[in-house]
């Protein structure tokens, strides 16, 4: 029984933004990257660790002396470049995903707590965040490599330990805006405590931002990992990693250019794809963010 006549429930034209054209190329590259990394053993034509001094510095297939057995050529130990690049994708993907997941979870938590409580908690947390942001990642990784020794774990730790601060900053900013909105006060009036407000109201409304940030950061992490591997502070040989592969070809850039070129190209394409994808996500999700 209604008190008054039921008004027409006119669903407004949904504000969910009509998708701009999907970024097919970026999505495609990212998808290929992930698939290649996951299915490496099935895709690689040869064993990436298989050395053969006889086959050193074979050029790619389209040059003289190249062959289809080694489509992109071989490096200075006669290992197939294509297979090493394929397996290298695993390292990059693992480093990217693990690091970003750890740092985003921790960083978002810090941002949420700082934004919600404000006051002294916020001040202290933000000072810690600022200090962390100003510390150079490469330096930390080098220190770890020198003291503890280079390894995958150390790369992840070195990057994550600093990267979380970026998430904390951004999420805190968004939380501050959200806190001024009435629905937070309403939750309090309904008796909700800090935990409920943070997890059920603040966090879901920051997810869009998190998704965009995460996508953009994966590319960044891949570059940092590659840089560390290039410097010898990252994934130690013989594990194929794009950065160290570039380093290995450093002295032969004029003679056996392919050894450095193709790993470098792989990094370029993958990072570019993630950045473009992140940009597109931000543009698509932004109207909803502004709706807040």
């Amino acid at each position: 029984m209604s008190i008054i006549a039921v008004p027409e429930l006119e669903a407004q034209a949904p504000v969910s933004a009509r998708r701009q054209r999907l970024p097919v190329v970026s999505l495609g590259i990212v998808a290929i990257f992930v698939l290649v990394a996951l299915l490496a053993p099935l895709l690689a034509p040869a064993d990436p660790y298989d050395q053969s001094l006889r086959l050193r510095f074979r050029p790619p297939v389209w040059e003289e002396r190249g062959s289809w057995a080694y489509p992109l050529g071989t490096d200075r130990l006669g290992r197939d470049l294509l297979s090493r690049i394929i397996y290298g994708a695993r390292v990059s993907l693992a480093a990217g995903v693990v690091t970003v997941l750890i740092s985003s979870a921790f960083g978002a938590a810090v941002g949420l707590v700082a934004g919600y409580y404000g006051g002294r908690t916020d001040a202290v947390l933000m000072r810690v965040t600022d200090a962390t942001l100003s510390f150079p990642v490469i330096l930390l990784a080098l220190i770890l490599a020198v003291t503890v020794g280079p390894s995958f774990t150390n790369v992840v730790i070195a990057i994550a330990v600093i990267l979380w601060a970026r998430y904390a900053r951004v999420i805190r900013g968004q939380v501050l805006t959200l806190m001024t909105l009435d629905f937070i006060a309403q939750a309090r009036i309904a008796g909700a405590g800090a935990w409920r407000i943070i997890t059920r109201h603040l966090l879901p409304n920051t997810l869009n931002t998190l998704v965009v940030l995460i996508t953009l950061q994966v590319g960044y992490v891949i570059i940092v990992e590659a840089s560390l591997s290039f410097l010898g502070a990252g994934i130690p040989p013989p594990t194929p990693a794009w950065g160290s592969m570039i380093a290995e070809g450093r002295d032969f850039v004029t003679s056996a250019w392919w050894v450095s070129f193709f790993p470098g190209l792989a990094i370029l394409l993958v990072v570019l794809a993630f950045n473009l994808l992140g940009d597109w996500l931000r543009d698509t999700l932004d109207p909803k963010l502004r709706q807040l």
Binding site: A5, P7, E8, E10, A13
Partner: protein, 321 residues
Amino acid sequence: MPAVIDVRDLRTHIVTRWGTIKAVDGVSFALEDGETLGLVGESGSGKSMTCLSIVRLVPRPAARIVGGAVRLDGDDLLTKSDAEMQQIRGRKVAMILQDPMSSLNPVFSIGMQMREPLTMYHGLRGSAVAARAAELLDAVRIPSPAARLRAFPHQLSGGMRQRVVGAMAIAGPPRLLMADEPTTSLDLTIQAQYLGLLKDLQQRHRFAMIFVTHNLGIVARTCDRVAVMYAGRIVEMGPVRRIFTEPTHPYTQALLASIPRFGVRRERLTAIAGQPPDLSRLGAGCAFAPRCPAAFERCAEAPPETTVAAGHVTRCWLHGG
């Protein structure tokens, strides 16, 4: 006496992803010296877009003026070039908007902002600019005007800021002043001061004024005539007293009946059923018909403007046509 502003069948369309919206759909009215027209309506009625169309500031490229004529002292503004319009805007036709904080640039002092129209339109130079600016601030009753020139917008209260905006608007002096909800963001007592100021300025400079608002109380006190807009059309227009005491259009009647009045307490207000119209999905008939308690078959066809009494027109099949 020729009209200061004569709008004939003005039409402005906005192209959106959900279709073309007829934001202004054949609006006509004329104003003389010193006359004030209240433009009333809800969100989406087209009242703000009408004002923007008059000075050709519609948001391009989505919005376009597609028809009609706007004659300012006999001169059709819709046929003018962009350069000519630049000379007219701010000088012969001035506008005051709702939010004074966005009308004033927060990083420039008041004096610097007033300098622009004075040097551009009146060719003033040097110390004459500051003198004239102080004069204008004094005309809008800002105390210590010379000192205020050095102040920044954030140092002034809302009411003061609107006065500064008003000072810039009367610098012309304009032939037509359009005020779009100028007092909505002000406190009530400040609002009363401001409305009194506008009327005094109008008396002194004899400009025509279009006052856009959704507040019928303001209309009752400050306007000579009122035009009620709905879905881009004027559905009723006439002298204020007549419209308020003998409204003919069902929307006007419903609007007046839905407003709480002093001294008539705690009876049910007459609510208007339904929701404001979706402008992208208007049919060919009267836009108010879906919510009209008196709608009948003829309403499937859009009613023309019919004259009910001297100076009083309405768009409703219940009243001839």
